[in-house]
Symmetry: C2
Subunit: 209 residues, 2 copies
DNA sequence: TGCTAAAACTTACGCCGCTAGTTTAAGCGA
DNA sequence: TCGCTTAAACTAGCGGCGTAAGTTTTAGCA
């Protein structure tokens, strides 16, 4: 086959196929040949639309970030906006768990990621936080959301009963595989409250650095 | 070559070589053939000592965790112990940045990781925190340490000046590549204070859930 | 009409993790 | 001490990977 009358591929079609492949079968299932097959095409044809596989992965990640709800930054006071944003952020990530490792390693430079950073940073600066501190707060929220979404405990944690002597406290830890989602969700909620309450307290006392 | 009179490989030698390879050249440089070459051996020989590559990576990660200082849990009150542990944890991770992505994805089930979990969880439970909450607190600290060590901003963030109109606030963000370490370090310190102060306040008010 | 660029193709290179089967030495029980 | 089992190296090879190079045909435009 040579050049078709109607292009078989577009960047959008490629990103859509890649996203659903990652969602369904995980990051490891995303190979150029596999993705091409999914699109009814030969592997190297994808390079007519993306320079590298990493570019495709970045686009998939940005498509996830695009779904995060930023509207609270226009309609709520800053603590409530942070809260709603963080919840939406985490919600989106839990809906696309296989993409989280990509998102956890560095903020994207693509449009949706930049727009999100802009919204968060802008709201905090408008609320009176110095730029450096606003950056810290945004980063902290990112750590909390991506950390809890990475499923730190999602693998479960059943330890060999033979080791109970060696790790006596862990025996009592609610680390059973059955509870993994609840642990990360609980830690997220707890951390969100601690952080935002702490920020509000400082802000109200006039400590904005 | 058949079986040598003196074994050429041991699990320890393999983990040491793998660790220094990862430290020097990154996770991607760690391949079975490359690692074997480094040890003066053919690739598949490694499978006489480890079942899979993932097992080697896990061992490398656990060797990093082994370096975290847990001594504060025996000598300080719980807030100070948490603080010292978190600082040591982050320090160790920044000394082995290439291993952080491994550590960020789920807690290990290997000895050093279990010992660390045991120490943290035990100290918190002894201080009166309910087991579920102690787990949350430990998870939160993990999010903070691994998130900031992942170098969320480590890639730098110089945005195209042509986009300043589109992202007006980011222009003012201290997101320049030159500041990346300071941003993550600052966010970590700030987050550590917020979290621990918040925990102490709750604890002193008798709110331990 | 003719030229250039786009978008598919085929082929191939050098990696990868890992399996299978071989060889020799070590260690050990009879 | 003999002989068996196991350990620890080897070689060969499978199927997959990302991607580079070059080919062919079509689209779009001067």
């Amino acid at each position: 086959m040579a050049r078709p009358r109607q292009p078989l591929l577009t960047r959008e079609r490629i990103v859509d196929a890649a996203s659903s492949l990652v969602d369904k079968e995980g990051l490891d299932a995303l190979s150029m040949r596999r993705l091409a097959t999914e699109l009814g095409v030969q592997g190297p044809s994808l390079y007519n639309h993306f320079a590298t596989k990493a570019d495709i992965v970045d686009a998939v990640a940005d498509a996830v970030i695009e779904r995060v709800d930023l509207s609270a930054f226009g309609t709520c006071d800053w603590p409530e906006a942070l809260r709603r944003w963080a919840r939406s952020y985490r919600q989106v990530l839990t809906e696309h768990p296989n993409v989280v490792p990509v998102l956890a390693s560095g903020p994207g430079r693509r449009p949706a990621a930049l727009a999100m950073a802009e919204a968060v940073f802008g709201a905090l600066v408008d609320a009176g936080w110095p730029p450096a501190r606003a950056t810290h707060i945004g980063a902290l929220m990112r750590y909390l959301v991506t950390g809890s979404a990475l499923g730190s405990f999602a693998l479960g944690f059943d330890i060999d009963p033979a080791l109970y002597d060696q790790y006596p406290h862990l025996h009592r830890a609610p680390l059973l595989a059955a509870h993994h989602e609840a642990v990360d969700e609980g830690a997220f909620q707890f951390g969100l409250d601690l952080l935002i309450n702490g920020l509000v307290a400082r802000h109200e006392m006039g400590i904005r650095r």
